[in-house]
C-alpha cells in the first residue's frame, strides 16, 4: 500500500495546527512554488498531473486555470467549493477538519499560478467544525506570513475568507455558489458568460473543489507526472478519495488510485456487504450518478469508464445497497431530495422534480399504477439536457436508472406492495 497523500493527516493528532502541518513537510510546496517556479510552470505541472475536478464535473484543473484571462479589467478570484452536499459524499469534510492547511496552501499556490489576490472558501453551513478549522488555519497562515501582503517576501499578496453557506444543495453548483457568495439566493446563472470570464463580483473566477485544491501542494512538490502516475495503470490522474457508505462492513473514506475497480472498493477496502448479504445495487458517484447493478461493478472508478456504462464518477461517493433494500423507498428519498433542493429557477427542474417526487411517494403509499413508471421515465426525459444547471440532470440520473434497471421490482411493488 503506498503512502496516503490526501488523507495522510486524517488520523494524525493536531494535524490541523500549523506546527504539526509544517513538521510533516507542510508549506514546502508553497515556498517552492513562490520562489522557484513561474506561474506558467505551476499550471504546466497541474496539467501534467491529470488532476480532474474532484467536485463532480471532472474538468481538468490545469485547463480550467488556463481559461482565466491574464489581463482583466476586474480583479480575479479563486473560489473553493466546499459545499459538499451530494448525498453519500463526505470526503472534503475530513480534509477541512484534519488537514485545513493543505487547503490553504493549495489555495495560495493556485492564486499565485493564476494571478489572484483574493480567495474565498465556500463551506456548507452545517460544517461548523470545518469552518472553525479553516478559519484557524487561515489565521495561523496570516500570522506566519503565508497570507496577507508580500508573502514570503516575494511581493505576492493574497487575502482569504471563509464564507459559510446556509443550507442549499444548489450552492454546490458553481454559479449558484457565486450568487450565494455575493449575498443572494443560490440560483445558477446563465452560461455563457462562464465564471472564468465573468464570475464572482463580475471578475474572472477559478472555482475548484476542496479535494482538487488539497492535491495541489503535492503536485507542486513532487511533480505532475508523479501524481498522474499514482492513478491506475493506463488511467492515471492521481489518487482520489472515495467515500463509501450504505450496507458495507467498513464504511469510510478510502484514498485509492483513480481507476480502482468498483468491486475492489466495495469488497476489498470497505469489507464487503454487511452480514455477507448479496449486493442489489450501487451508486458509484454520489446520489446523482445513475445506479449500477451487481454485474456492472467491475468498472474502473474513473470518469470515462463510468460514462461508458451510462453512469458517472461524480464525487466518487459509493453508496451500497444490499439485497434487502427497498428501492421504491430509496428512490422516493432521492426524488424528495431533488424536489426539495431544486432552486426553482428553470421550468423543467422546478416542476419535474416535484412531480417525480409526488408520483414515487404515491407509489410507495400503494396507490401507484404501472403507467406511473412510464410517466416518471417521460418526466425524466423531459428534464434531461434541458435545464439551466446540472441539478435537473442529477435528478434524472437516479430516476431513470432505478426505474429502468429495476423495473420489475417497481412493477411488483405496485402490484403487491413492499417486500
Amino acid at each position: 500500500m503506498p503512502e496516503p497523500i490526501l488523507s495522510r493527516n486524517f488520523s494524525k493528532k493536531n494535524a490541523h495546527t500549523l506546527g504539526v502541518y509544517i513538521q510533516g513537510g507542510g508549506y514546502e510546496a508553497l515556498k517552492k512554488a513562490l520562489t522557484e517556479m513561474k506561474p506558467e510552470q505551476i499550471i504546466q505541472e497541474v496539467d501534467k498531473s491529470g488532476l480532474k475536478g474532484r467536485g463532480g464535473a471532472g474538468f481538468p484543473v490545469g485547463k480550467k486555470w488556463s481559461f482565466i484571462p491574464k489581463e482583466a479589467p476586474k480583479p480575479k478570484y479563486l473560489v473553493i467549493n466546499a459545499d459538499e452536499g451530494e448525498p453519500g459524499t463526505y470526503k472534503d469534510r475530513p480534509i477541512m477538519e484534519c488537514d485545513p492547511h493543505a487547503v490553504v496552501e493549495g489555495a495560495i499556490i493556485t492564486c499565485f499560478a493564476v494571478g489572484i489576490h483574493w480567495a474565498g472558501i465556500y463551506v456548507r453551513g452545517e460544517y461548523v467544525k470545518s469552518i472553525e478549522r479553516l478559519e484557524g488555519a487561515i489565521n495561523e497562515a496570516y500570522a506566519k506570513g503565508y497570507l496577507g501582503k508580500n508573502i514570503l517576501e516575494t511581493g505576492f499578496d493574497l487575502d482569504m475568507v471563509v464564507h459559510r453557506g446556509a443550507g442549499a444543495y444548489i450552492c454546490g453548483e458553481e454559479t449558484g455558489l457565486l450568487e450565494s457568495f455575493e449575498g443572494k439566493k443560490g440560483q445558477p446563472r446563465m452560461k455563457p458568460p462562464f465564471p472564468a470570464i465573468v464570475g464572482l463580483f463580475q471578475g474572472p473566477t477559478v472555482i475548484n473543489n476542496v479535494e482538487s485544491i488539497a492535491a495541489i501542494p503535492h503536485i507542486v512538490k513532487n511533480g505532475g507526472e508523479w501524481f498522474n502516475g499514482l492513478g491506475a495503470p493506463g488511467i492515471g490522474g492521481g489518487v482520489k478519495l472515495f467515500p463509501v457508505s450504505g450496507h458495507v462492513k467498513k464504511p469510510g473514506v478510502y484514498e485509492l488510485p483513480m481507476g480502482t475497480p468498483l468491486r475492489e472498493i466495495i469488497y476489498k477496502h470497505a469489507g464487503g456487504i454487511r452480514g455477507d448479504k448479496k449486493l442489489k445495487a450501487v451508486i458509484p458517484g454520489g446520489a446523482s450518478a445513475p445506479v449500477l447493478k451487481p454485474e456492472e461493478i467491475d468498472v474502473p472508478m474513473e470518469y470515462a469508464n463510468l460514462a461508458k456504462i451510462g453512469s458517472m464518477m461524480g464525487s466518487g461517493a459509493v453508496i451500497v445497497m444490499d439485497e434487502d433494500t427497498d428501492l421504491v423507498k430509496t428512490l422516493r428519498v432521492l426524488m424528495c431530495f431533488y424536489a426539495h433542493e431544486s432552486c426553482g429557477k428553470c421550468t423543467p427542474c422546478r416542476e419535474g422534480t416535484g412531480w417525480m417526487a409526488k408520483i414515487i411517494k404515491r407509489i410507495e403509499k400503494g396507490e401507484g399504477e404501472s403507467a406511473d413508471l412510464d410517466t416518471i421515465v417521460s418526466i425524466a426525459n423531459g428534464i434531461r439536457g434541458r435545464t439551466l444547471c446540472p441539478l435537473g440532470d442529477a435528478a434524472v440520473g437516479p430516476a431513470l436508472s432505478f426505474v429502468t434497471k429495476f423495473r420489475q421490482e417497481f412493477e411488483d411493488y405496485i402490484k403487491v406492495g413492499a417486500g
Partner: protein, 537 residues
C-alpha cells in the same frame, strides 16, 4: 456580421444577436416566457429551446448568440417534443380554469398550449397551493398559482424602475413572487408589470373582470397624460358589458417606440383615460340662463358665440378679446384656433401658458412635470407671446379691459385658483370649449363640447419636438365635436375661413404655413412619429 440559416432561410445579423432575435427578423416566432426584449436574460423558462446542428443538446435561443454558418431548426420533432414537455411542466401546478381567468384570450400560456401542446394532463397528484388574490400594489393583484415564475416582473422593477421591491421567495415548485410581506409596490409603473406578465398572475385592478379581451377593439394613440408623448394603444368597445354601461374605453397599453417610451407606460398616463367616459363629460352645447345651464343645439351655441365675439371686437377692438387654449389640444385644433382668432378676428391676446402648467410631479423614467401632450406643439405654433400673457389676461378681465374670454380646453381656475374665479365671473362673455365640466366651465356663458383624444384625429408634438399622431377610435360622445371642427364652424360665421372637413386638411394647411411642419403629411409621420424640432427651451 454572421450569416446563419434558420429553418432553411438565410439571415445576416449583427454580432451578438441571439438566435431568437435573428429568427424574429425572419418572421419566425420562437415561443418564450422569461425572455423580454427590454430586460436582462435569465435563461429560466426553457420554452425557447431550438435545435442547432452539431450541438449535443437543444439550446435556449433567447440567450445564445448566433455564430457564422450556424444552422438552426425551430420546428423539428425534438423541438416540438421539448415545447410540449415544458408546457406540461408549467401546467401541472397551474390552475386549468382558463374560462374564469381574466387573462384568457391574451395569455401566452394559453396560446402556446393550443399551438404547441393540446394534450390532456397526465398529472394525477395534488397541485402546489399558493397565494391567490394578493394585493401587491395599489394598481394590481397577484395570483401566485397562475405564475410561471418567469421573473419578468421582478426584473422590470429592478432594471427599469430601479427599485428592488419584488422578489421570488422559497424554492423549487414552492417558488413564489411577492413583495416583502406587508409591503406594497408603490411606483408609477405597475401597469407594466401586468403587461410583462405572460400569464394571468398579475392583473390590473382597473381592468380585471370588466371586459373579455377579445371583445375589445384597438387603435394606436398617444398617451395624453404628459408631454412625454408615450406611444400607446387604446382598447375600446362600443358595447356595454357586465352592467358597466357607458364605458367605452377600457385601457391604454404601451406601444413600442424606442425613441420615446421604449415599451413602457406610466400609471398616471395609463389610467388617466377615465375622463373620456366620465359622468362630467360635456355632451351637448349649453347656454347659461340665470344660474343654470340650458342645453342648446350647436346652431344656437355657435350663433351666440360668434355674435358675442363679433360685438366685442367691433365695439372695443380685438384687444378686448382673450384666448387661452390648452396644450391638451392637437396641433390641428390649435392651428384652427389660431386661424380663427389671429387671422380672422386679429386677436393678439392668445396664450396657452397658464402659470403652473408644467408643475406636476415628474419622474426620471417617463412621466413629465408638464401634464400636457402638446405643449411643444403650442409653442411651435406661436400660441404664446403675441399679446398679453394668460395671467395678465386674468387681470384685464377683472378690470374689464378684456370683455370676452375664450377658454379652449383650458381651466384657469385649476391653475390660478380664486383670482381666476373672480376674474372669470366678471367676464362679459366667457366661452368654454372642452371635454369635461370644470371649475372654469362652471362660470361660462356658453359651453361648447369638445372631443377627447380618442374621438378625433390629430397630432401632438412631444417635449422632444417629436410629432406623433393620434387616431379617431370612437365617435365623440353625444354631440361633442373635434375642436378644429368647432373653430371651423365658428370661422364660417365670422368671416373668410377654410371649410375644413377633416383634421388632415387642417394639417395640410399647417404644413404649408408653419415652418416646423413644412413638407410633412400624415403619411410621413408614420406610426413612430417624426422629429420636427428641438426640445423646448
Amino acid at each position: 456580421m454572421p450569416t446563419l440559416t434558420i429553418d432553411d432561410q438565410q439571415v445576416t445579423v449583427d454580432q451578438g444577436t441571439t438566435i431568437l432575435e435573428a429568427a424574429k427578423k425572419l418572421g419566425i416566432a420562437i415561443p418564450h416566457f422569461c425572455y423580454h426584449p427590454r430586460l436582462t436574460k435569465v435563461d429560466a423558462c426553457r420554452m425557447c429551446l431550438v435545435e442547432v446542428k452539431d450541438a449535443p443538446k437543444l439550446v435556449t435561443s433567447c440567450s445564445n448568440a448566433v455564430r457564422d454558418n450556424m444552422v438552426v431548426f425551430t420546428g423539428t420533432p425534438k423541438v416540438e417534443e421539448a415545447r410540449k414537455s415544458i408546457l406540461e411542466f408549467i401546467l401541472i401546478n397551474h390552475p386549468l380554469d382558463c374560462p374564469i381567468c381574466d387573462k384568457a384570450g391574451e395569455c401566452t400560456l394559453q396560446d402556446y398550449y393550443f399551438r404547441y401542446s393540446s394534450q390532456p394532463s397526465r398529472f394525477k397528484d395534488n397541485k402546489v397551493e399558493k397565494h391567490k388574490v394578493v394585493d401587491l400594489g395599489a394598481k394590481m393583484v397577484l395570483d401566485s398559482e397562475r405564475c410561471v415564475v418567469c421573473g419578468r416582473c421582478v426584473r422590470f422593477c429592478r432594471e427599469v424602475v430601479g427599485e428592488e421591491n419584488l422578489g421570488i421567495f422559497n424554492r423549487g415548485d414552492h417558488s413564489e413572487i411577492g413583495t416583502y410581506p406587508g409591503k406594497k409596490i408603490e411606483h408609477n409603473y405597475q401597469g407594466n408589470l401586468v403587461d410583462v406578465c405572460p400569464v394571468g398572475a398579475l392583473t390590473a385592478k382597473d381592468f380585471r373582470f370588466k371586459c373579455r379581451s377579445w371583445l375589445l377593439c384597438k387603435a394606436d394613440t398617444i398617451c395624453p397624460g404628459c408631454s412625454n408623448g408615450c406611444n400607446a394603444v387604446v382598447h375600446f368597445t362600443l358595447r356595454s358589458f357586465n352592467g358597466i354601461k357607458g364605458q367605452r374605453v377600457f385601457r391604454l397599453t404601451p406601444r413600442e417606440n424606442n425613441d420615446v417610451n421604449k415599451i413602457w407606460l406610466c400609471d398616471v398616463g395609463r389610467w388617466g383615460y377615465s375622463f373620456v367616459d366620465s359622468i362630467d363629460r360635456l355632451t351637448t352645447p349649453a347656454l347659461k340662463k340665470g344660474e343654470d345651464f340650458v342645453k342648446g343645439d350647436w346652431d344656437t351655441a355657435l350663433r351666440e358665440t360668434a355674435s358675442g365675439l363679433k360685438t366685442v371686437v367691433e365695439r372695443y377692438g380685438p384687444s378686448a378679446v382673450g384666448v387661452i387654449p390648452s396644450p391638451h389640444l392637437t396641433n390641428e385644433d390649435l392651428y384652427a384656433l389660431k386661424c380663427l382668432f389671429s387671422c380672422v378676428l386679429k386677436v393678439a391676446n392668445i396664450d396657452f401658458k397658464l402659470p403652473g402648467l408644467d408643475k406636476g410631479e415628474g419622474d426620471k423614467l417617463l412621466l413629465k412635470a408638464d401634464r400636457h401632450p402638446n405643449t411643444r406643439g403650442a409653442e411651435l405654433l406661436g400660441l404664446s407671446g403675441t399679446g398679453l400673457s394668460a395671467e395678465a389676461m386674468m387681470e384685464k378681465v377683472k378690470t374689464g379691459e378684456i370683455r370676452a374670454l375664450y377658454l379652449a380646453g383650458s381651466d384657469p381656475v385649476k391653475y390660478i385658483g380664486e383670482k381666476a374665479e373672480e376674474a372669470l365671473s366678471r367676464a362679459e362673455l366667457l366661452i368654454f370649449q372642452g371635454t369635461n365640466f370644470s371649475a372654469s366651465c362652471k362660470l361660462a356663458h356658453v359651453i361648447l363640447p369638445g372631443a377627447t383624444f380618442v374621438e378625433k384625429e390629430g397630432t401632438f408634438t412631444n417635449y422632444q419636438g417629436r410629432l406623433q399622431k393620434i387616431n379617431k377610435a370612437l365617435e365623440p360622445l353625444g354631440e361633442a365635436l373635434a375642436d378644429w371642427e368647432i373653430f371651423t364652424r365658428l370661422g364660417k360665421r365670422l368671416g373668410a375661413y377654410p371649410s375644413y372637413r377633416c383634421a388632415e386638411e387642417v394639417f395640410k394647411d399647417m404644413a404649408r404655413e408653419v415652418a416646423p411642419f413644412n413638407g410633412l403629411s400624415y403619411q410621413k409621420i408614420g406610426p413612430q412619429g417624426i422629429k420636427i424640432a428641438d426640445s423646448s427651451q
